[in-house]
């Protein structure tokens, strides 16, 4: 009898364990989205109305037939908050362009599709926008799997598409060689990591100390494996030695063992990717174990969650992270102020990248002389933006050139990516994210060694 009870207990425990790991995996990603949802939901409603209000009168002055931009993002479901930020960037650019005379005298019009976080919905929305709404160009999506499906539909109908924020490497690899209507503006996942290593190399210029050894601290889930893979890919090129790889299971109860392992390895810099709960516990545990790494560089995620600084206070000072956009970026200060006046929140990476894509479509359509699919595709393939858009603003992102090229990344061929795309590195200084790299795009110096107090 007791034997049976024990066995059943064990079975139940196993079930509990699998449920547990399932929860922690999805919990993390949901969390960031939902956190944003709470902070942006209120602002979202009013901003949409405002933006629409502004687009219409400006559009009314323009006489030509509108050029339709189809957008496919999640406007409902768990990732709706991300969609809200993206659409703000798009609305902002459209209002700006229409107010300044539109595209060759024709107004821009946004036709929204909602993929609700699902690839099948994404496909049907893409077909609806193309066949019923007759959109001229397409933007999307924020989940790489949906982007892939929508890109296929666009290819089929010959509608040019640019993704502003899908970072999955695979989207532009050999498999997608012939999808010549699809372009990517944002940096690839592996470029994010390469930029982290570039930052380590360049930091010597300001700190006077060369970074020779690195350790990885990360979640055992997919995000961690991706970080490890990319660091392995680029470390030799940047002359770095990987001295330790320390991982843990999401929502860890205790990270002291991991921190001690890092302390023992004593690397010059720690690279990390964690969800918010573990990121917070990690920095706290560093203090508890009396270990002050000189440099911590995170691949965004939990480290850039708004509650990270709130929960940790001053001990978060010195932690650096990848960011796609930061309000103090020299290129972005001006637009951020206008954006904030309009929507009440800072521009984030997603809004800045989507904003840029709208301008890119404008430039391409003007260069092509028509909004016809094939002509725009050709124009995009040949477009080269240096510093600023013709008749528009400077590029608001941390790079100053946009050109879609085919190239080799770590031995693998990629097609039609913006090869100049880069992220910025920001560091927490006095409780605020300050851009510190690329040096040309920031006014702030790196705080080194990281104070953590």
């Amino acid at each position: 009898m007791k034997l049976r009870k024990l066995t059943s207990l064990l079975c139940v425990a196993a079930v509990a364990m699998s449920a547990l790991s399932g929860c922690s995996g999805s919990g993390g990603s949901e969390t960031t989205a939902a956190t944003e949802a709470t902070t942006t939901a209120a602002a979202g409603g009013e901003s949409k109305a405002e933006a629409e209000g502004e687009t219409e009168p400006a559009g009314a002055e323009l006489t030509g037939e509108p050029i339709k931009i189809g957008t496919i993002y999640a406007m409902s479901g768990g990732s709706a908050a991300i969609g809200t930020n993206i659409l703000r960037g798009i609305d902002f650019a459209v209002a700006e362009i229409n107010a300044a005379g539109g595209v060759d005298g024709r107004p821009l019009e946004v036709v929204r599709g909602d993929h609700a976080g699902d690839a099948a919905t994404g496909r049907s929305e893409a077909e609806r926008l193309i066949t019923q709404e007759h959109v001229d160009v397409m933007m999307g999506c924020h989940m790489s799997v949906v982007t892939e499906v929508v890109a296929q539909v666009c290819q089929q109908y010959g509608v040019p598409m640019i993704t502003a924020i899908s970072t999955l490497d695979r989207l532009s690899n050999e498999e997608h060689k012939d999808m010549d209507y699809f372009f990517r503006l944002c940096p690839l996942n592996s470029v994010y990591v390469e930029d982290m290593l570039m930052y380590l190399r360049d930091s010597k210029e300001q700190t006077g100390e060369e970074i020779k050894t690195v350790a990885i601290f990360t979640d055992r889930a997919a995000i961690g494996q991706e970080l490890i893979r990319c660091v392995e890919l680029f470390k030799d090129e940047y002359g770095l030695e990987l001295v330790a790889t320390v991982d843990y299971t999401s929502n860890a109860t205790d990270l002291s063992a991991q921190v001690l392992a890092l302390k023992q390895a004593n690397p010059d810099a720690i690279l990390c990717d964690s969800y918010i709960g573990d990121a917070t516990l990690f920095i706290q545990t560093l203090k508890e174990q009396n270990y002050s790494p000189k440099m911590i560089v995170a691949k965004a995620n939990g480290f850039t969650d708004p509650s990270f600084i709130t929960n940790l206070g001053s001990i978060a000072n010195g932690v650096a992270s990848v960011v796609e956009f930061n309000p103090d970026l020299t290129n972005g200060k001006e637009i951020n102020e206008e954006f904030k006046a309009e929507f009440g929140v800072d521009m984030n990476g997603h809004s800045a990248e989507s904003y840029t894509v709208v301008w890119l479509f404008k430039a391409a359509i003007e260069a092509a002389g028509s909004a016809e699919g094939e002509a725009v595709k050709e124009a995009l393939a040949n477009i080269e933006i240096n510093g600023e858009f013709p008749g528009g603003r400077k590029i608001v992102l941390p790079y100053d050139k946009i050109k879609f090229e085919n190239y080799d990344l770590a031995g693998e061929a990629h097609y039609r990516d913006n090869t100049s795309a880069s992220v910025a590195i920001a560091q927490i200084q006095d409780g605020e994210w300050k851009t510190v790299w690329p040096f040309d795009f920031s006014d702030t110096k790196i705080a080194y060694p990281a104070p953590l107090q």
């Binding site: 066995t7 064990l10 139940v12 790889t245 001690l260 709960g277 706290q284 203090k287 174990q289 969650d305």
Partner: protein, 287 residues
């Protein structure tokens, strides 16, 4: 050597929490022979209670411990009286399994609705104070928490050993029919026991708040470890659970130190399975 000492201290400090969780789980199991699958969620409720008391009433997390313990005791008693006791009559293990699992889901999703998915924390004036003792560093809140854990454990032992109610609880745990025959109100003991177990989980939650983040699924990892502690320490044995908790904490940090942090979870679960198998064989042989 200093690493070893530091790892020992880390293991002890963390093990204390696993003990507390395990003892709460085990006292419930010992008396009612049910596994309380919402034990981790109860810890989470304790964390949020402490968070509310601190944020809205300015009560220090350690002063909040008794308030949280009493509140959780009442909550536990209520759950036992209204939900679990009626189900006990059915003598069905699955019924109770789904009841406690469902209750756990209800609690964590309830917390999600009320507090959102934001990760919160409590920072007092002393929560970022660190004490250096030779080669070993400790966070002051962890040290205080460990002290409180010891006090609670000793009090629990004394309560079970010397008070009348404690003796009644032990009697019901050993032989519920016999206990009923000698006039012990078994239903009342059930209510007390479940309340006590939940109060222990709530206490662990309150003690954790200063160095752990508070979020709706915070209890899951602890709840699962409590289960391991119960199995390793012996079903129903309070001292066993106490020792097993400390053992689990040390095992985690030591395996990380001597083998690799990547394998520490693996080693913990392997040990868990090995102990289960060994014990089963021993029981089978005794028969």
């Amino acid at each position: 050597m200093s690493m070893f000492l530091q790892a020992c201290v880390n293991g002890l400090l963390m093990g204390g929490f696993y003990s507390l969780m395990g003892m709460g789980q085990n006292i419930i199991f010992g008396v009612m022979k049910i596994v309380n699958f919402c034990h981790g969620e109860m810890l989470m409720v304790g964390m949020y209670l402490t968070f509310i008391l601190y944020t809205f009433f300015g009560i220090d997390p350690y002063l909040a411990v008794p308030i949280v313990a009493v509140t959780m005791f009442c909550l536990g008693s209520l759950i036992q009286h209204t939900l679990i006791t009626p189900s006990l009559g059915t003598k069905s293990f699955t019924n109770l399994l789904f009841l406690t699992v469902g209750l756990g889901l209800l609690l964590s999703n309830g917390a999600l609705v009320i507090f959102g998915s934001e990760y919160r924390s409590i920072r007092t004036a002393y929560s970022q104070t660190y004490i250096q003792l030779g080669p070993v560093t400790m966070a002051l809140p962890r040290l205080i928490s460990f002290g409180v854990l010891i006090v609670v454990t000793v009090a629990l032992f004394a309560f079970l050993k010397y008070t009348t109610i404690g003796k009644q609880i032990r009697a019901v745990s050993q032989n519920p029919v016999g206990a009923e025959v000698v006039g012990i109100d078994v239903k009342k003991i059930y209510i007390l026991t479940y309340g006590l177990g939940i109060a222990l989980a709530g206490t662990a939650g309150a003690l954790l708040t200063q160095f752990y983040t508070i979020f709706p699924t915070a209890g899951a990892s602890f709840g699962f470890r409590a289960l391991i502690v119960v199995v390793v320490g012996g079903l129903g044995s309070i001292p066993g659970a106490f020792l097993a908790g400390i053992f689990l904490g040390l095992l985690e940090t030591m395996s990380a130190l001597f083998i690799s942090p990547s394998y520490s979870d693996l080693i913990v679960f392997m040990t868990f399975i090995v102990i289960l198998v060994v014990r089963q064989t021993m029981i089978a042989r005794r028969k």
